[in-house]
Subunit: 415 residues, 4 copies
Amino acid sequence: MNPHLGRKLRYGMVGGGPGAFIGAVHRMAAALDGEWELAAGAFASQPERSREQGRALGLDTRRVYGSFPEMAEAEAALGEDRRIDAVSIVTPNHLHRPVALAFLERGVHVVCDKPMTRSVAGAEALCCEVERTGLTFALTHNYTGYPMVKEARHLVRTGRLGALRKVVAEYPQGWLSTRLEAEGHKQASWRQDPAQAGPASALGDIGTHLDNLVRYVTGLEIEAVFAELASLVPGRTMEDDAGILVRFAGGARGVYHASQVSAGEENGLALRVYGERAGLVWRQEDPNVLELLSPDAPRQRLTRGSGYLCAAAGHATRLPPGHPEGFIEAFANIYRSAGRVIGARIAGAEPDPLDRDFPDHSDGLGGVRFIAGVLDAAARAGWVSLADIEAADGGAREPARRAASIRNTAAGARQ
Amino acid sequence: MNPHLGRKLRYGMVGGGPGAFIGAVHRMAAALDGEWELAAGAFASQPERSREQGRALGLDTRRVYGSFPEMAEAEAALGEDRRIDAVSIVTPNHLHRPVALAFLERGVHVVCDKPMTRSVAGAEALCCEVERTGLTFALTHNYTGYPMVKEARHLVRTGRLGALRKVVAEYPQGWLSTRLEAEGHKQASWRQDPAQAGPASALGDIGTHLDNLVRYVTGLEIEAVFAELASLVPGRTMEDDAGILVRFAGGARGVYHASQVSAGEENGLALRVYGERAGLVWRQEDPNVLELLSPDAPRQRLTRGSGYLCAAAGHATRLPPGHPEGFIEAFANIYRSAGRVIGARIAGAEPDPLDRDFPDHSDGLGGVRFIAGVLDAAARAGWVSLADIEAADGGAREPARRAASIRNTAAGARQ
Amino acid sequence: MNPHLGRKLRYGMVGGGPGAFIGAVHRMAAALDGEWELAAGAFASQPERSREQGRALGLDTRRVYGSFPEMAEAEAALGEDRRIDAVSIVTPNHLHRPVALAFLERGVHVVCDKPMTRSVAGAEALCCEVERTGLTFALTHNYTGYPMVKEARHLVRTGRLGALRKVVAEYPQGWLSTRLEAEGHKQASWRQDPAQAGPASALGDIGTHLDNLVRYVTGLEIEAVFAELASLVPGRTMEDDAGILVRFAGGARGVYHASQVSAGEENGLALRVYGERAGLVWRQEDPNVLELLSPDAPRQRLTRGSGYLCAAAGHATRLPPGHPEGFIEAFANIYRSAGRVIGARIAGAEPDPLDRDFPDHSDGLGGVRFIAGVLDAAARAGWVSLADIEAADGGAREPARRAASIRNTAAGARQ
Amino acid sequence: MNPHLGRKLRYGMVGGGPGAFIGAVHRMAAALDGEWELAAGAFASQPERSREQGRALGLDTRRVYGSFPEMAEAEAALGEDRRIDAVSIVTPNHLHRPVALAFLERGVHVVCDKPMTRSVAGAEALCCEVERTGLTFALTHNYTGYPMVKEARHLVRTGRLGALRKVVAEYPQGWLSTRLEAEGHKQASWRQDPAQAGPASALGDIGTHLDNLVRYVTGLEIEAVFAELASLVPGRTMEDDAGILVRFAGGARGVYHASQVSAGEENGLALRVYGERAGLVWRQEDPNVLELLSPDAPRQRLTRGSGYLCAAAGHATRLPPGHPEGFIEAFANIYRSAGRVIGARIAGAEPDPLDRDFPDHSDGLGGVRFIAGVLDAAARAGWVSLADIEAADGGAREPARRAASIRNTAAGARQ
């Protein structure tokens, strides 16, 4: 149960109907630690499919809705002891913002999949609304939920690597090596549809993970990007491959690459960070391990669950070393921590600082800005400064500045 | 929810109080898929500690008990719509049998940790009771819950390796490299106490996993064993290391070794099986991978979630390839399948054959016999036939024979 | 012995004095198969150090020279049964061309370290001289000597991957993480001295290996490059880090990165190539393995020495699978093959087509053009077409065109 | 050249004719460092095939012999400035002793493949002859030539692991998964012929490597062995699989297993040693790495060539870290060191202590005793003390005792 509330946190889900992938992951992640319970849902745009999913999940049929506005309204009308505390948004990208706004304005905390929105202006506006309401907004950049990623962050932030010099981040996948979107493949179709995905496809889907992971671990701010985007499968219109060069404030350099046409690759997300004194390597497909490289000493293989790890890594682990934890557990770390922060807010209590460690709206804004910058650089075939990127969305100057300050506050809180 | 019942399966837990390790694993495994709910518990032998745990878990305080007999009786007195359907036994070994009997006789299905009992006679008697009641008894030999172990079994059983020749099974751990049991370490203490652990320590704790894993994957019957047991940490009285040579029916040979003093090892359980045409390798610390070795072709790296795997492996997986699943997910596979078989029995329905795939009392009896045989071989410094092993427990001839027939039935059912 | 000559091939060495690294590698590579013998040397610019090295190697003191012009002249004056057949050039880059010319014009075949020259104009001129003399020029881009690299080439060239889409090539090293060149470190000093190294440092030293390896395996022609070069160690003037984006003719894309400040990395050269049907991964630090990735089948691990490999891979191997071969053996493959081609030319015989498989002057020119293009792209912060790159060196139009035809001829011969 | 002689050491080879495997390895190992030169040979029992090999190697035809006695006699008759200094014996096992004796009695130093002889009595007699002549006898237990094996030895011997507790040594191969010896396969045929191989097949071929490697690294003396030998391929008469349990003096335990029917395995030799404070793992197929395991610290990955390694490991390496060395280089370490010790003896000089580090006749005797003990244990199905093992060969008491003292002296010298 939620330690601040003495009961489980109640949540509703928008999206995640029959055949969806990520909705089931959210539900398992929420269930794992026994601190959340699913109480309502608008699982699909077709009411019958929403009800089908609700039945399969054993939900009270009165709380399975045909649309998210209906759900937002109906749940708000329930008593405090019944209505949902939070909503999980697991829809295609174009719905993230309207769904979030519908619930935020009714006082419901939000867990939302990434990327946060399709545009920078949209992200800025959503950030302002989150700030205005004071509610919790958790973004499921799930890879930062891995304990060894937290250890990587700790090692960098406590100076173990010295001044950073080079970052290599990559995410090769192969599942879009054929034009699945032309064959009615649901996951592929919306990702290759600009109306749903926004202006970026592979870049938004997996490229933002690179950005988020690098920011989380290193704290480096991107100064400028150069990029090459390509549609490597004949007939495809949106990009399925990206190569990105990065200049960080302070002089470090980065090479990022993401691809959904690296035939035979599964989810080869990997991060390498090198500083003046040491380097580190983390690979998502072997997530219980973090390698620490030194110029004059043997490479060390740090493992999840070990006594020598930092508090954040320990807080994010459930099993002793050698008994692997995986993707769902990392995802569950976001739910557990966000749930406790939400519970503490509801209860008027102070959350454990270790539970403040999850991606939020400021990370979401950062990710959307990164996408915009990369798209711009690729279009111009030149370096683009991320500081200039708001302009691309028109005159939303004020929110941008507010959002920038948000970021700093949030980042500061998390240090 | 449980697909046969249209509600979650209700279970109680015996053991798993504050500070226990495996109880929390059982709870996460049960929670993961949303098909079980914890409804009652006798978490510790001290009532206050049991209540403390119950509170932390958000249980109705009236269903948190000070002892397992009290729990068995009180739950049986509840209405059918409230009382527990099953009990999870997560105590030290000596309590497995009495707790199981207390619930079986009240019609409650059982999930029990391994080894099943301390003695062969005890195991045989418990098997008879399970058979008599017709209830489900699931034994959490969790490693067989891994999808790639199921694929290994499939490859062997469908002849991909040809006639089997050699099996190498190993389980190096290092956590008992110092005499933790002398320092009040709870997990170490009961495992090194014959009254609680039974006559075997490392052998019962991890050696039985080797036996179970080999049986599950290969179906080979052990004809005879030779063994060397040792207490390698000064001052320790029970064995912390075992080397075992095995002769299988049909002529294959086996080398097993298990150790809790392999300094620096975590949970290095690994299985290698070689046949006339191919070999396979599986490593628990990298559980999403199964390697298939061929004499004249490249080694293949099969990965969990892939489309080319067998139905049993697919049934036991939640995520696409490249997003690692781990120990809890494997554990949860036992809960999910056992829960569905239990639900089907309660509902008078037929379970999915793929859900019959979990270790049961016959596996428990096999494991206890293996322990007894190995102890005997080490004591005699000679080969011991497992077929002769019942005698060691005295004249319980009749149950033994019945139990033998049980095993065959169960194994047949699972094919 | 050399199979065409019935004796060992005699060679002299320029460079490779006491304390040098690569000279000793060349000597071991030449010695390994018993087909070459060292007969002369001008090992250092200081005559005394040259003699010291000659003595340590047991050379006839009359054939240890104080300078390469002296050696070229004196050896030419010896009888045909004594003088060297070939010269190995293992000096810093600036000497490659003058040394090569001195020997070519006296009819001596050449083995030369890479990069071939400091400038494109120099490379074109040297190519013309090689073509004019008809002598053999082998460039020790040693990584293409690895058997599994040859298998990779074979798989790509025979269509196993389908049309190529993406190439990732990387070479992280960490040995220049401190400013060794300021501490008198010999290897570091000349590499960071433009007079000796030419206009590129890390790019020439290890970046060209990426270019050469990709060309060798894929046959892809680079259309344009974009690059970011950086000096990441404070006080350093030449680049120690490079990120390069590549557009290939036909539409495939590439990401290359090379660094000498990736603290803790050793020689992490790795190549990944993805096509429409499959992908492959090769890592220099585990060179006996080539991984073949498929979208719908298990990843395959091909190993050196196996019966299923192509003829070129088999020709380049000495030991059965499982007995690792390494860097020296790969290097020796260049010596063995080049030596046999040289021997065949001397003997007026036809070499085995499998021995024609070593990098030559056309690869050298390609590498120098690649360096020039990358330098130009980084300077302009924009895409640069390699086809335009000759211009950078001024008006050497004619040689350039001739050299281009050379490349095609040589590449054709090697197919 | 040999540093003590100012010239290369001249050697002859017995065995290693056309089609042989290990002869070519010896020649490459001898050639690599330029300190040995092949001067004579009796390469095959058929003179024509011996001459064929001699021609292919470019030898003076007068020094290619039709038999080893002819070679021993003729070489002894040559002048000191021409005759061979040493002989390499690369024949099947049954010829090791007679060939060695023929050359030892003429003052020729010996490099011999393993196992040294077929019987313990034979090994003892040969040891006495080596001692009597004072000549050098190097046994090519090549795996101890790997630098990281030397580092492993260093770590154990300097107490990094504390008191040793457990050793796991394994050598799975798969190449005899079919009855190659029935198909005229040369390598398989002599190994499965007791007249040539002696009483053991897989045990002599690869089992002795386990024994030698464990002794070299740990210094542990075997007190007793238990074993199971099997012929797992139908129709085969000698063993192709061995499982061995070991009790060491001082109480440590060992598990060894070797198999030539582990289908798909290449040369999976691996060693794991665990002590009270740390453990280590070395795998022959990844020989440049040694893993050091600690209970409370990250696993360390030590790599060949690194500055932090011991002097013996450094002495045995040619390349910086990250440029892999392999099997031939390890083999060459034995040649280089033995050659320098031989050269020093010839020159009346003192060899570098680091060059004394190669297996000798005492290791050979130990290996043959190990074979005899294991055969005896398997036959008796009981523990056998290695101290009792001489008796098996009859009354050769006196040599045995002398040989025992030899071992101690030699071992002492090597410390």
